[in-house]
């Protein structure tokens, strides 16, 4: 679904990523790790075309990222659910409306039953009417995950989705992602939480990609 080939990227200064190659096949499950500031968020942004590679080739759903028009990018974002590290919401809309936002902007009607079930799963059943400012840090993260998956996207990209939630809740969120993966969705998760990776590996065949010294490494055995 998503392919990076020999990709270089840097924010103006020195390159942050050098010669990065990665292939996220349909139904695959990846973890992305690496020290803080290594470029995990940057790599993920390349995958949903928030950034464009300085060199190399990125193919998204078979289309070259460089050839995509602005509306193509919008369509891409509807097929890719993203949990951003800094969960961004519309502050004037309720949690339920925020979670249903991808449906709204793509012209789909939202099914209240589905929405309720999803909110219940991430433990926000009681907070549907709350404004984003009235949520706790972990609740915002869970809402961001709910928003990422409500369109039932082909690919789910989650950047540090469990940084602010307790262990039990992170297991639940992982469960949700694993279930989606079993339905054939492609999943990639950036995380620092080795326990989470271990827990996932016990249930699905997940691969771990590590950013080290500006390069991507497949870290299979070292966990």
């Amino acid at each position: 679904m998503i392919e990076l080939k020999d990709v270089n990227y840097g924010y103006g200064g020195a390159d942050l990523l050098v010669g990065a190659s990665l292939s996220l096949g349909a139904g695959s499950f990846h973890f992305l790790t690496g020290p803080s500031g290594a470029g995990k968020t940057t790599l993920l942004k390349l995958c949903y075309r928030e950034l464009q590679a300085s060199s190399g080739r990125i193919t998204l759903f078979g289309q070259d990222a460089r050839d995509m028009g602005r509306d193509d990018v919008s369509d891409l974002r509807r097929r890719v659910g993203v949990v951003h590290q800094d969960c961004q919401f519309l502050d004037h809309l309720s949690l339920a409306e925020n979670v249903a936002l991808p449906l709204l902007v793509s012209g789909h009607a939202s099914d209240p039953g589905n929405l309720k079930e999803l909110l219940g799963w991430v433990g926000l059943g009681d907070q549907a009417g709350s404004l984003p400012a009235e949520l706790s840090g972990g609740e915002r993260q869970r809402a961001a995950l709910a928003r990422a998956v409500i369109m039932s996207p082909d690919v789910v990209i989650a950047d540090e989705p469990t940084g602010n939630v307790d262990w039990e809740m992170s297991q639940r969120l992982l469960q949700l992602l694993i279930e989606l993966n079993r339905m054939g969705k492609t999943i990639i998760i950036a995380t620092h939480d080795m326990n989470l990776i271990r827990a996932a590996k016990a249930q699905v065949s997940a691969r771990v990609v590590r950013i080290k010294d500006r390069r991507l490494q497949i870290a299979g055995a070292d966990l």
Binding site: E50, L51, Q88, L90, D91, L101, L103, L104, V105, E117
Partner: protein, 300 residues
């Protein structure tokens, strides 16, 4: 978990896209107020321009008969010299018409001085020729010389030319009214543009989120454009109505006698201020659209 198409929608269909733009805030009020205030001033300036225009027209026509040619000569030469003077006047550029006054007219003119009982015919009253200039005016010195040659008894008397500055003043006022109107229009446009830009900058986060969840540029721009066009338009409607009300209620505007000099709109002129809201709406539309597309261009 998929986006089903049945069931009650979280957003009601009508207002769905509008909901994504935050409803209030000072920038919203600012747009509304800027549109209203500038529309109000525009109506006021319009009324001023039209009123001074009427004033200038009136004075111009009333004071146009500014010159007189007086023919003082012996009784037997009077008719011949009058005809000669008229001929000169007819061929003088800048003179719209020239007409010899009848005895009765002269008597009427002199009545304030001598009363109605005065037997004018028995006096050596000179023949008077009323000269009406066109808008360009004539060249007084040249005319004087030509008259002297053709009709030695004719004297051009344009002493009433002192009134000309009044007409000029009124016309300058009218010009200034239009300049003020143009300035206010430009300021309105700039103000609405800036207010729309400020509001959009304040909503940069909203735009970013919408773009991130897959909204197209058209959807995002439309949501803002609709909102701000409406704001500029309804603000301008309010300001225009208030302005028209204020103009209508100004003392003297409705008084019978002073209707020509009073501030206010006459007849079809009442339609003029109605053009303000659509113009404000159009400015709001363009400003918001450009601003939205500008903000969007900065986002992937």
């Amino acid at each position: 978990m998929s986006g089903g198409t049945q069931g009650r929608a979280v957003f009601s269909a009508e207002t769905a896209a509008d909901r994504v733009v935050p409803p209030t805030g000072f920038t919203a009020r600012l747009t509304l107020f800027a549109a209203a205030a500038m529309a109000f001033l525009a109506v006021f300036a319009l009324a001023l321009s039209l009123a001074t225009g009427r004033l200038a027209d009136r004075w111009a026509s009333e004071l146009a008969r500014t010159a007189t040619v007086r023919i003082s000569t012996t009784q037997d030469q009077r008719v011949a010299q009058t005809r000669a003077a008229l001929k000169v006047l007819e061929t003088t550029p800048g003179i719209a018409s020239a007409r010899a006054l009848s005895l009765e007219e002269e008597q009427a003119l002199l009545e304030p001085w001598f009363g109605p009982a005065m037997p004018i015919a028995s006096l050596p009253v000179p023949q008077l020729i009323e000269v009406i200039e066109d808008e360009n005016g004539y060249e007084a010195e040249g005319l004087r010389l030509r008259l002297m040659a053709e009709a030695p008894g004719a004297v051009l008397d344009d002493h009433t030319r002192w009134r000309r500055p009044l007409v000029q003043a009124a016309e300058r006022l009218r010009t200034m009214g239009w300049i003020a109107l143009a300035l206010i229009a430009a300021t309105t446009g700039a103000m609405i543009t800036l207010a729309a830009n400020a509001a959009l900058s304040a909503n940069a986060q909203v735009i970013r989120v919408l773009r991130l969840v897959g909204a197209r540029d058209k959807f995002i721009a439309a949501a803002f454009v609709r909102r701000f066009t409406l704001r500029a338009f309804s603000g301008a409607v309010g300001g225009t109505l208030l302005g028209m009300l204020a103009v209508f209620m100004l003392p003297g505007a409705s008084a019978e006698g002073s209707f020509l000099t009073g501030l206010g709109f006459q007849g079809l002129h009442w339609l003029w201020p109605l053009s303000v809201p659509p113009l404000a709406g159009a400015v709001g539309f363009l400003a918001t659209r450009l601003a939205a597309l500008r903000v969007l261009k900065g986002l992937m």
